[in-house]
């Protein structure tokens, strides 16, 4: 597809379970971002991948959160031992250095509910 694709779009999980969220960036985009948005709140940066550089993990809230990007394309955000406070929309975005001004394009998000 032409846009950033995220799956699942909705996920309900029990407290303590692990979840994986997937992001397919726009083809050819070298940069990939994960943000978290709690209900009615702003965008919290989680992690940033740029090409083959070491990822910027400075936004990950705890060691229960991890992300990887395979082959410079698809990314997976993993949350281990989920807690109720992890309930949020997880937004993935991608961009290309070739775009003037670093336009980043967001997916529609994965809505995570921990019960």
């Amino acid at each position: 597809g032409a846009g950033v694709s995220q799956s699942p779009s909705n996920k309900v999980t029990e407290k303590g379970k692990d979840v994986e969220l997937r992001c397919d960036p726009i083809s050819g985009h070298t940069a990939l971002y994960w943000y978290r948005q709690s209900l009615g709140q702003g965008l919290e940066f989680l992690i940033y991948f740029q090409g083959n550089s070491a990822p910027d993990k400075s936004g990950l809230p705890s060691d229960r959160f991890s992300a990887e990007r395979t082959g410079g394309s698809v990314s997976t955000l993993t949350i281990q031992r989920t807690q109720q406070e992890d309930s949020a929309v997880y937004l993935c975005a991608s961009s290309s250095r070739r775009d003037r001004g670093n336009t980043i394009y967001f997916g529609e998000g994965s809505w995570l509910t921990v019960v």
């Binding site: 971002y33 965008l43 940033y48 937004l91 001004g101 670093n102």
Partner: protein, 113 residues
């Protein structure tokens, strides 16, 4: 140094009015300032962006005003319409170097008929 402060948190304007949303940044290395618009249930989408070499940029009914010395920028929406009701986020980053966007906390805008 990475913070972007946005105000107001929410705003209600009558149709045809000119809502103004303000942002301030701290990091003088920032040189790219976009605004994103988000409708409920959707991801944010780029609305308009500015670089610090100009003081104003217009695209349709949307205008960014930029004050480099004050480290502030604002979004104005001319002839606002109910369809403009959304959450607006300002952001800042560096074009080269660390391109990570730092977002403001968002403004929930409601345009009443």
């Amino acid at each position: 140094q990475q913070q972007v402060k946005q105000s107001p948190q929410s705003l209600i304007v009558q149709k045809g009015g000119i809502p103004i949303i303000n942002c301030a940044y701290e990091n003088t290395a920032f040189d790219y300032f976009p605004w994103y618009q988000q409708f409920p249930g959707k991801g944010p989408a780029l609305l308009i962006a500015i670089r610090p070499d100009v003081s104003e940029k217009k695209e349709g009914r949307f205008t960014i005003s930029f004050n480099k010395s004050a480290k502030q920028f604002s979004l104005h929406i001319m002839d606002s319409q109910p369809g403009d009701s959304a959450t607006y986020f300002c952001a800042a980053s560096m074009v080269f170097g660390n391109e990570k966007l730092t977002f403001g906390t968002g403004t929930r805008l409601t345009i009443i008929p």
